[in-house]
């Protein structure tokens, strides 16, 4: 086994969920020795389906990214926001470094509105 690139690209939880859904469908064939795959996809799916990621779509994420671009958040911060949509200003403080200096209180509230509009549909 040769590791060419440990982190070719980060994935959103949404992408993982979509991929695993197709994997779990294929596996109905019950092939020999694929039990590990079945276990891990089942457990991971269960975890992901309990999170707000379940209600996201490709469109909602791209729309969110377009609307949120004005706040100049880093890619990593956006990834965390999409994976674990914040519901309070306190969460944004945790996810965004130096949020006190980079964002005004109004901007934080605007981001929260965008999050509940696109990413956290169920709870809003």
């Amino acid at each position: 086994m040769e590791i060419k690139n440990i982190c070719y690209s980060p994935l959103t939880n949404f992408e993982v969920l979509e991929t695993l859904k197709t994997v779990s469908k294929k596996d109905t064939k019950k092939k020999h020795g694929l039990r590990n795959l079945a276990t891990i996809t089942y457990e991971t799916l269960q975890y992901l389906e309990e999170t707000p990621v379940k209600s996201q779509t490709k469109e909602s994420i791209t729309d969110f990214l377009r609307d949120v671009s004005q706040y100049k958040l880093t890619k990593n911060e956006l990834l965390m926001i999409i994976n674990d949509p914040p519901s309070t200003a306190l969460h944004i403080q945790l996810l965004v470094e130096d949020s006190e200096e980079r964002l005004t209180e109004d901007q934080v509230n605007e981001i929260l509105v965008l999050v509940s509009k696109y990413l956290n549909i169920e709870e809003s």
């Binding site: 440990i6 982190c7 991929t19 276990t39 996809t41 949020s99 929260l112």
Partner: protein, 237 residues
Amino acid sequence: MFVLAELKDTIRITPEQFSLKLTEAIQDEINRKLANKVLLNVGLCISLKDLVSIGDSLILPGDGSSHTDVIFRYIVFRPAVGNIITGKIRSCSREGVHITLGFFDDILIPPSSLQHPSRFEETEQAWVWEYPLENGEKHDLYMDIGEPIKFRVSGELFEESSPIGPPQKEGPSTSKQTEVKIPYKIIAAINESGLGVLSWWDQNNQEEEEEEGEGGEDDQEEEDLNGESIGDGAYEE
């Protein structure tokens, strides 16, 4: 928290799989090898994402199988240090709080990274955050099993685990080797405001304002803190 890792390996396809399409046989073989396993310094392997390239298949003398060089991308659970993840409390012990994500269990919050001050309740087998109240008393916040908890990844630890040797049948006297190595461990922290058991922050927003000691909030705003996500005054400049 998930990444795509690009890997290369020589995949051996045994003759009984020759009836399958080559790509399908390769995909199965890769998943058989990696799914639900920890790859040293890479992370916990979940599932194959796609094949990048398939080289020529070779047959070696004395072996009917075909060997194919394959470059592929695999979905790997490898949260970056600093990431924030929500999990569930699996158990509490003297060593700290153990957290599970369902598919990954080896997450530990050491006592030094719990909210301060915390103590371990021996009778309940639970960690307790002794939340200070205004009047000098304290309010005990228990960390019960099964509660959802938000934590920050503060470190990771890979350990090379060698294959388990053959079982020793030489009489019952041989001591069992119970030493189990954990190949991939995540060290977590919750000693920041907003982290910890989720229900703490739904109810305790008001108190937290004072605890943070950053002051300057007017009382009206504090009234509005509960629940409402918009106009939440917990954010301070």
